[in-house]
Symmetry: C2
Subunit: 256 residues, 2 copies
């Protein structure tokens, strides 16, 4: 009988390989399988699913231990996933975990987040993929609950798999201990008052991104609501963004 | 009786304000309303829904004519939309048109495209939004059919509106004349063989993004299929990426 291979787990993020969040995640997942980390060489927050095509990218080994290799990459979070799967790894990972992000990726943030871009990209390759984020931007945030619940979800996904084209978005509030995990939908809403005006060195106006999130969701069971109540939110997300409910009506339009 | 205001139409892209595609689009939409263009100051292809938060951004007026103002912006396509609506414009646009992109944004490309990131962002603000792309990357591509069909769709959207949270992804093949517009879903599939190995100036390996799209969709009425047959594809897309079909099953998982 041949020994069954350990699960291969690809880890990435958008805060860079030096961030506390990804290093806590590595520790939290130790023992679950062979861990390969390929993460940006510096901050790539808000990079969404951006890809690098005008310049080449590369990667290098940072450290190696038993069942753990850590690489840094000059590209975006999505580049990291593409490079790992196309070039670095000799087989498809059994699981991708992206994070732990310093800052929440609930609601509309799923679209802006590099952490979630990388998660979606794992899913594109057919790898069961989970993004994990904490609603705390601080460098020294406390990721202990994220590690605990991230591991619970990771173990479950390794055992159960995920449907083709579906990935998971796990967010944790700063409340400790977290009251539990609530499976729910992405809250409707957007950022408001998004810019702070400033002035550059030669006296020209410049605009800094800032703002507050406004929850416009009228339905129960949205992620923002559960996070506000001290629960972790777990949203299953789809790669296919087609609005199937509107296809028929749009098809009835006379477009010449 | 007060004179009804002309429709306000916000135009952006990811190829930059100098690209042929956006300038053809401007000409194609002239007469439909007051056109305000706020587009990146250079190429931002593959920027998805990326946002700029670590440095400030700014914009400047490039040219002004009757019912047309053109601004360039140092940010990403999504930054352009946010800046236009938060800072530049005194009212919400009646329509956003993003493009015409030099290169197709069908299938999974909807996730990587800055043109489609900007389109989604318009939708987040409640602005009926359309992304228009041509399956031709060349600087001097022929955008005449895109302008014709883009205007048809734009006029229809101005008249009918779009559901809250839904935006449109219009792609055109290079075949002229286009056989018609097919309303359809986003093809399932992904890019394969994505990197070409090279060497930098000091002899280190580098990786250039390249690859071919592989259509894995087994169902009829997907965008790649219709484009292959010489039709334009029109896909309604949703901001809410929740996989509602999987919520109940995921909710049944024992997560402690």
């Amino acid at each position: 009988m041949t020994k069954r291979k350990k699960p291969l787990i690809l880890i990435t993020n958008d805060d860079g390989f030096r961030a506390k969040g990804i290093n806590e995640l590595i520790q939290g997942l130790r023992g679950l399988g062979e861990l390969v980390v390929l993460a940006p060489d510096g901050p790539r927050s808000g990079m969404a699913s951006a890809i690098t095509s005008l310049v080449p990218i590369n990667y290098k080994l940072i450290r190696q231990e038993e069942d753990l290799r850590v690489y840094s990459c000059t590209g975006t979070p999505v580049d990291c996933v593409k490079l790992a799967i196309n070039v670095l790894l000799d087989r498809l990972p059994d699981l991708l975990v992206s994070g732990i992000n310093h800052g929440g990726n609930m609601a509309i943030c799923v679209h802006y987040s590099g952490t979630m871009g990388a998660t979606a990209e794992g899913c594109v390759f057919g790898v069961p993929s989970i993004g994990v984020s904490l609603l705390d931007h601080r460098e020294d945030a406390d990721f202990s609950e994220c590690c605990r619940l991230g591991r619970v979800v990771a173990e479950k996904v390794l055992a159960e798999g995920l449907p083709r084209g579906t990935y998971l978005n796990l967010n944790l509030p700063t409340d400790v201990p977290v009251k539990g995990i609530k499976v729910c939908h992405q809250a409707e809403g957007r950022w408001v008052n998004e810019f702070k005006e400033g002035e550059n060195g030669v006296g020209e106006k410049v605009y800094w991104l800032t703002g507050n999130f406004r929850n416009d969701d009228k339905l129960a069971d949205n992620d923002v609501e559960w996070l506000d109540k001290g629960y972790a939110s777990l949203v299953p997300c789809k790669i296919d963004v087609t609005d199937y409910g509107y296809l028929e009506h749009l098809g009835s339009w006379d477009l010449g």
